[in-house]
Symmetry: C2
Subunit: 369 residues, 2 copies
């Protein structure tokens, strides 16, 4: 009898759990209810930014927060600033090997892995933010990106954009190409290579050292992002001229990287949610820069008396000529680079033609005297 | 004894369900599991577009599909094309009264409700897509939009953007303002009012009637969207000149509207998911137009011998002067309009200044001869 009781109880128990788990009790109206077992995933996100850095670091925070809210708390993502868990430039490897499930940075930081990867962030005289999105989402770019990153056990996603950056802070006026000769400027990556071939002396220093380097004269110039970020760094105190446009970074795509094994282990709805959060941050960060840059620029000009300057046309033309040369060389490094650049180049030709009669023609019409 | 058995069994049953439902059984590693009862919501989405219309209608489909996938099937949204459930221009009322839980259209279609609503779609010589996003998400625009729509029992969200549109199809060349006099053009809304004050004869006809009207000469001109959509409509067969830029619609924001009661009834994670899907479509549709417009334009020019023309500067300047006049009048209609325009105007001044040295300066640098 006692044995029977236990058996019956056990059976009922199993039955009750099965009903709750399989969830098929129809309800009023056209709705039905089901119950599922929910697992909570605890993820780490390592980033290349100082914790809470305006725009970039806060974008990473938003990404984590969106994933939490959309998943109803089923994925909790803890964000780490640069150096908190791993140094900035080790984010790629940390996520690749699974030390963290997720990372936030920019593709050009990993050029040591494969130079072709830089195409997924920005190239000199390349694409604006909207153009990048067109290429990534509807022009084959994201497909190539996923293919390349799969080799490193990573799933990439566009997750932020700075928009067109500024040309940088200068303590020497640039009136012609001659003024670039010997100029010591912090300008990393492909832009730095172009600058070097134009006669300048490119230097790579971390953001935190730029202020002092400009102050002591160790640097004549530096680029960073745009007014919203640059105002916070206080460069106006140690540099006189603020140049535009940012020919070297016309719309830098920031990226989220997700460990492929961690991603594959998620149920389908959570995979959608993680990628959705990346897309939202990709748009939202650009909107934030768009809305904040000008107020910051006004402060720089009106309160701090920064002198705004445009690069002369002949300088821009020569930088563009050299940029094409540098980018073509990169494109010929290997087959991966060739394939990515073939796609990007064709798209850029098309979208440039379209921009001429849409965005650019309209912006001109709005201000024509 | 038998009674005892039942009591014990019942208690165990309740206990087992409670454990499963409340979800507090710790699991291996740092994860835990919980079970919840899931209700499935069946929603209708009415739209102002022909079912599956490229860009606009497919954007509404994507919205429904994203909500389904991100929610793991907890919200099923059925999309209805214009006239399937309600006519295009009754979408606002249908969602307001709860006939459908959701709608997809554009704010300027509802100017009959309150003329100020038009500010949330686009105005002549207004904002580009990125600029609109800056205003909505980080410049106070969305807050105002929500406030205004709450009066109609609606939650609004930006859910698509066409980017800069084309100026339209013409059978008469526009060499000066004199060529606009008496011109019969399909151009609705604020653009139509501007066109009228410039001497033209604006007409409002549904998209489906435009082809025949151009063919028979009932119309001299029509605007629609841009190459990707216009090629599909075949306007190149009945109009000779294709003008740019689309001064009257520089970046039209499409909208999703959600019945407030239906929205409030959702759990917090599903509310996040619905709004997230809108944000994704808002970005994705723009990317689609960006990627597709130029290929369509090439087909129009190279295969169909369409003649591409820019509006002359004096025409654009006069249209801009009148636009400012028309928009200021709209802004003075009532307190709501005044408040929205005050926010929009201040933002537009700032963002225009920023565009001069960022987007516009870069696009110029990329093509400077």
């Amino acid at each position: 009898m006692k044995k029977n009781k236990h058996v019956i109880t056990g059976l009922l128990l199993l039955l009750s759990m099965a009903v709750v788990i399989s969830g098929c009790s129809p309800k009023e109206g056209d709705s039905k209810q089901k119950a599922v077992i929910e697992k909570v995933y605890h993820w780490k996100m390592v980033t290349t930014w100082p914790k809470n850095f305006p725009g970039l670091g806060t974008g990473a925070n938003n990404l984590a927060s969106l994933i939490d809210k959309m998943s109803g708390g089923r994925i909790k993502v803890k964000v780490y600033g640069a150096k908190e868990l791993v140094p900035a430039f080790e984010v790629f490897d940390a996520v690749s090997r699974g030390t963290a499930e997720m990372g936030h940075g920019a593709a050009y930081y990993w050029k040591g892995k494969n130079e072709a990867i830089q195409f997924f962030s920005t190239i000199p005289f390349g694409l604006t933010a909207d153009e990048m999105n067109g290429w990534l989402y509807h022009g084959g770019g994201l497909k190539l990106w996923r293919e390349v990153y799969a080799q490193y056990n990573l799933v990439p996603a566009a997750a932020g954009n700075t928009g067109v950056q500024m040309g940088g802070w200068f303590n020497r006026e640039i009136k012609s190409l001659a003024d670039i000769k010997g100029l010591k400027m912090r300008i990393p990556g492909l832009g730095g290579e172009v600058f070097k071939r134009a006669g300048g002396t490119p230097v790579n220093l971390p953001g935190g050292e730029l202020y002092t380097a400009l102050q002591t004269g160790a640097l004549d110039a530096t680029e960073w992002v745009g007014p919203y970020n640059d105002l916070a760094f206080g460069f106006y105190k140690v540099a006189k001229y603020y140049y535009y446009p940012g020919w070297h970074e016309p719309g830098t795509t920031l990226e989220a990287i997700i460990n492929k094994k961690a991603f594959d282990a998620l149920p389908a709805d959570l995979q959608e949610i993680v990628l959705a959060a990346c897309k939202i941050v990709n748009q939202d960060m650009l909107a934030e820069y768009m809305a904040r840059n000008n107020a910051a620029l006004e402060t720089l000009i009106n309160e701090h008396h920064v002198q705004l300057r445009a690069f002369p046309d002949d300088v821009l033309k020569e930088l563009r000529r050299i940029s094409d040369e540098v980018v073509e060389e990169l494109a010929n490094k290997d087959d991966t680079a060739k394939r990515i650049y073939a796609s990007l180049k064709k798209y850029r030709e098309q979208v440039t033609a379209w921009d001429e009669i849409s965005e650019r023609a309209f912006l001109r019409a709005r201000t024509i005297k």
